[in-house]
Amino acid sequence: VTTLPTVLPLATASTPPTDAIWWTLFHYYLFFGIAAGVLSIGFMIWATLAHRIRKGQELKPERYAYHPREHNWGNWKLILVLVIITVSVQSFVEYQTFGSSSLVTLPKGDPITIGVVGRQWDWLFVYPNGVNVEGNLTVPQNQVIVLNITSSDVFHAFFIPALSVGKDAVPGHYTTVWFNATQTGTYLIECKELCGVGHAYMLAHLSVVPQASYTEWYSTLGENET
């Protein structure tokens, strides 16, 4: 029987900096996606039903004769313009998101930099004082945390679903990601890249604790380890 580490309850509420942008974009895409889908598929269904040949109905070959070499450019310019407008708007929105996105620039302040090492099959967190902690990332609330991610063996991907924070862990390379958790709680950290038989178990906890408890915890960090 397989057993998984208990990671319950999964926290749900969190407002990391990327989230607002993420949801705005998501809603934008969802709205236009559903609109485009409903319109085009709806039109297809309508056209098909409206033009289908019912039982007993005769074809009018003279009207619908097939002319293999009749090349018709038709009314495509209008459609082309519409599509170009849509794509441009989309590109513009994407560009704007990039410009304003906190993904690009770190917020001011003094971040805590923590190293993350993925390995088959757990996560190792290296704190600024050099102490390694396995499987549990403890961070203070309302504090910018910068993660320097790498892997000691194969390709992994570090991911905190609740905070929309993710980056690949590539052997021999360092990738950087940051977040600012505003609510205390325990969150799930998972690996998103197939990395061998232990892939599904490659989980860790993120504990977001109040500043005071973090300071206390951090001061004793390393003492228990021998």
Binding site: V1, L4, V7, L10, T18, W22, L25, Y29, G33, A36, S40, I41, M44, A47, H51, R52, I53, L59, P61, Y64, Y66, H67, P68, R69, E70, H71, N72, W73, G74, W76, I79, V83, V87, S91, E94, Y95, T97, F98, S101, L103, D153, F155, A157, G166, K167, D168, V170, P171, G172, H173, Y174, E190, K192, E193, L194, C195, G196, G198, H199, A200
Partner: protein, 780 residues
């Protein structure tokens, strides 16, 4: 019966091979489907222990590989084989024996990959994109994964050969009156697909060569502690993204054939579709690959560029879909089975395409990358758009292939069940956007459990429904009502019986074992058969099987030995056939612009050379990448002897010069000169090989410390790259021996010497590649 079997084994007829491809790809699709059922059973409930993690990883990896590279791509090629020559009024593909060879290599490659399940180490278990260094020996040991990778390399080689062959056919062998403007849509789309394949597959082949070298020879391309991962990611996705279009374009071509027939009107915006696909989809597909690597930590401005290029590529697809929908207006639609499948293909493509546009956003992709949202998206494209489109083609052309009508009720049930339960299987996966892909089990979260269970139920009914197709095909073959020659009243050339003679006889008698002697037309076709393609493909498979075993079993050497004997036998046999002019294909009908002045064989050679350039290009780029990533590198001249390298370069280049002079001689009708210069090129070529052998021997056994393939990165990349070049030189020399024999017996004259010219082109390619390798390894 014996005749029936030997006919199918030795055929070189494009229609037979099309049918073989159809059967072969459906078989691999069946195996891939079984693996999917295992996976869905495992995922149906949280914390399930039906499959172990290792078994699940094998299932998920092999499902992806089999479905994409042995089911979907060859299914498109099946129709390409069957239809393209008929649609353009050619008698056959340009190189029928090569076509047969491609099929058997594809088939045996797949068999090797499936055999891997039974070997130690199991089948590939690192996902269909074979992440590095997970696929290298330290993390996936054993001969099993190696066997999958060599099987895959065979499949890739087969597709590359078909690419050259079919492009050549489309460019060169169009019948009288088939101008580019009149080339039918399916042929156009097959052509676009081939253009994608021509540049994408050599990159994968190069990657696989490096991977197999790492696994067997212990080189350090991909297993290097730094850089291997990113190197592979770039190689793989440069192939991977165009490959998705390789899968989708034939289905679009099929829809473009079927919509006008059953909507009883012209395809709307035909030119627009063609221009967009040719001028936008094909080139853009090479500019979007890094969107698969958004969170790999590549430069942010690069991310931005690739995000925009990905949005851009949705534009031509938008317009193509709009054109297809427009075809349904002002129409009179017959909702036949092929029409329903084609229609469903577009509907599903719209859903999959919209989710693809959502994924093109970098910010959204950070969260969705590697989750079931992506799984849902590409299954909507690959299973939905592609399989439904190609199944439309199966039903559309079944009467053409068998001469009989299929069972309507079964087909309708197949369509309804497939359409409904495809969506039941994959739509819930969009809502699993927070569940990582490829985990073999998951926590008991209620939402995940419910959605997975729904998906599993859908998958079982969807897969079960596919059995109806097989039953229906069997029914059609054995009990179907005899079909009129053109049951759908399609205007396509492929429906006109006997339009260009023998090749287009109805296949009814061809498919079934004939009890009575076949009609004259079929008899004629039976004549151009050859035993060599299947022999050579089998020989390759045996050799590669042995090579994959070498790391674990000493008796692998025996298998390799047997393989070499078989290769020698079949290559010798092939040349023997050629020497005696045993294999004759009917003379071709016409030659058309713009290649009237270039012979068919020579154009084929140029296409082959372009794929070779991409192969060497990918290998040399990998070398450069490895070198730039390395902390230190030995100085020029410190290991490799510049003098020795200089002498071998001189030998190879003079050999090239001798080849040019050989061609010059025969152009002036000088047969003796031809033989003399060929001998010169031959001896100089072997001189090059001998000098290399001496150099390698010195570096291995005399030099202290020895410079070997295992002695670090410089050794690895030197021996693999120069070895690959050396294999090309030796193969060229084998062919040269054959050409010399033919030249001596006076087979070439002033007007007929394409073989010599082709050899020269190949030989010059070898020279040019060496001119890159020599400075790279010896002088810098």
């Amino acid at each position: 019966m014996a005749r029936w079997i030997s006919r199918w084994l030795f055929t070189t007829n494009h229609k037979d091979i099309g049918v073989l491809y159809l059967a072969g790809s459906l078989y691999f699709g069946f195996v891939g489907g079984l693996l999917a059922m295992l996976m869905r059973t495992q995922l149906s409930a949280p914390l399930n222990d039906f499959l172990s993690a290792g078994a699940y990883n094998e299932a998920v990896s092999m499902h992806g590989l089999l479905m994409i590279l042995w089911f979907l791509s060859p299914l498109g090629i099946a129709f390409g084989n069957y239809l393209v020559p008929m649609q353009i009024g050619a008698k056959d593909l340009a190189l029928p024996r090569l076509n047969a060879l491609s099929f058997w290599i594809f088939l045996f490659g797949g068999v090797l990959a499936i055999l891997a399940f039974a070997l130690p180490g199991g089948a590939a278990n690192s996902g269909w994109y074979m992440d590095q260094p997970l696929s290298t020996t330290p993390y996936s040991p054993g001969p099993g994964p190696t066997l999958v990778f060599v099987g895959l390399a065979m499949d890739v080689v087969a597709i590359m050969m078909t690419t050259v062959n079919m492009l050549l056919t489309i460019i060169y062998m169009r019948g009288p009156g088939i101008t580019w403007r009149r080339v039918p849509m399916f042929t156009w789309f097959t052509g676009f697909m081939l253009l994608q394949a021509m540049f994408a597959f050599p990159s994968l082949l190069a990657g696989l060569l490096l991977l197999v070298a790492d696994r067997l020879l212990g080189t350090l391309y991909l297993s290097a502690s730094s850089g291997g991962t990113i190197l592979w990611d770039n190689i793989f996705w440069f192939f991977g993204h165009p490959e998705t279009y390789v899968v989708v374009l034939p289905a679009f071509g099929m829809v473009a054939e079927i919509f006008p027939v059953f909507a009883h009107r012209n395809l709307a915006e035909r030119n627009l579709i063609l221009v967009l696909t040719g001028a936008a989809v094909v080139p853009l597909s090479y500019l979007v690959w890094q969107h698969h690597m958004f969170i790999t930590g590549i430069d942010l401005s690069e991310n931005q560029a690739f995000s925009i290029s990905t949005i851009m590529i949705s534009l031509p697809f938008d317009l193509i879909v709009i054109a297809f929908i427009k075809t349904l207006t002002k129409s009179h639609i017959e909702l036949t089975i092929p029409m329903l499948f084609a229609w469903a293909s577009i509907v599903i493509f719209i859903v999959g395409g919209i989710s693809g546009v959502m994924l093109s956003s970098y910010v959204l992709d950070v969260v969705w990358n590697g989750t079931y949202f992506v799984v849902a998206h590409f299954h909507y494209i690959m299973v939905g758009a592609s399989v439904f489109g190609l199944f439309a083609g199966v039903y559309f052309y079944l009467p053409r292939m068998t001469g009989r009508l299929f069972h309507q009720g079964l087909a309708k049930a197949h369509f309804i069940l497939s359409f409904i339960f495809f969506n039941v299987t994959f739509f819930p996966m969009y809502f699993l956007y927070d569940m990582p892909r490829r985990v073999f089990t998951y926590e008991p979260l209620p939402s995940w459990a419910t959605l997975n269970l729904i998906s599993t139920i859908g998958a079982f009914i969807f897969a079960g429904a596919q059995i109806l197709l097989v039953i229906n095909m069997y029914y059609t073959l054995t009990r179907g009502v005899i079909s009129p020659p053109n049951p759908w009243r399609s205007p396509g050339l492929e429906w006109v019986p006997n339009i260009v003679g023998a090749s287009n006889a109805t296949t009814l008698e061809v498919v079934l074992p004939a009890s009575s002697p076949p009609p004259a037309a079929v008899q004629l076709e039976l004549e151009h058969t050859s035993r060599r393609p299947i022999q050579l493909a089998l020989a390759m498979a045996v050799t590669l099987f042995g090579i994959a075993l070498l790391t674990s079993f000493i008796w692998g050497w025996i298998v390799v030995g047997i393989g070499f004997i078989l290769v020698a036998y079949s290559v010798g046999g092939w040349m023997h056939d050629d020497y005696l002019d045993k294999f004759k294909i009917p003379p071709q009908l016409c030659e058309t612009w713009p290649f009237t002045r270039i012979s068919k064989e020579r154009l084929g050679m140029w296409l082959f050379i372009s794929t070779e350039i991409f192969l060497f290009g990918a290998v040399i780029s990998s070398d450069i990448y490895v070198r730039l990533n390395a902390a230190s590198w030995p100085a020029a001249g410190s290991i490799l002897d510049v003098m020795s390298g200089g002498w071998s370069s001189l030998l190879l280049i003079s050999s090239g010069g001798a080849m040019v002079l050989a061609v010059e001689s025969i152009r002036q009708g000088n047969r003796k000169g031809l033989v003399r210069w060929l001998w010169g090129a031959f001896i100089l070529g072997w001189g090059f090989i001998a000098l290399h052998a001496y150099e390698w021997y010195t570096m291995y056994y005399v030099d202290k410390p020895a410079f070997t393939i295992f002695s670090g990165l410089p050794g690895s990349i030197y021996y693999v790259t120069v070895g690959l070049h050396g294999i090309h030189v030796v193969s060229g020399l084998v062919v040269m021996a054959f050409i010399i024999a033919k030249a001596r017996s006076g087979r070439y004259d002033r007007d007929h010497h394409t073989g010599v010219v082709n050899l020269m082109l190949y030989w010059l390619l070898i020279d040019v590649v060496w001119m890159f390798l020599f400075p790279f390894f010896y002088l810098t």
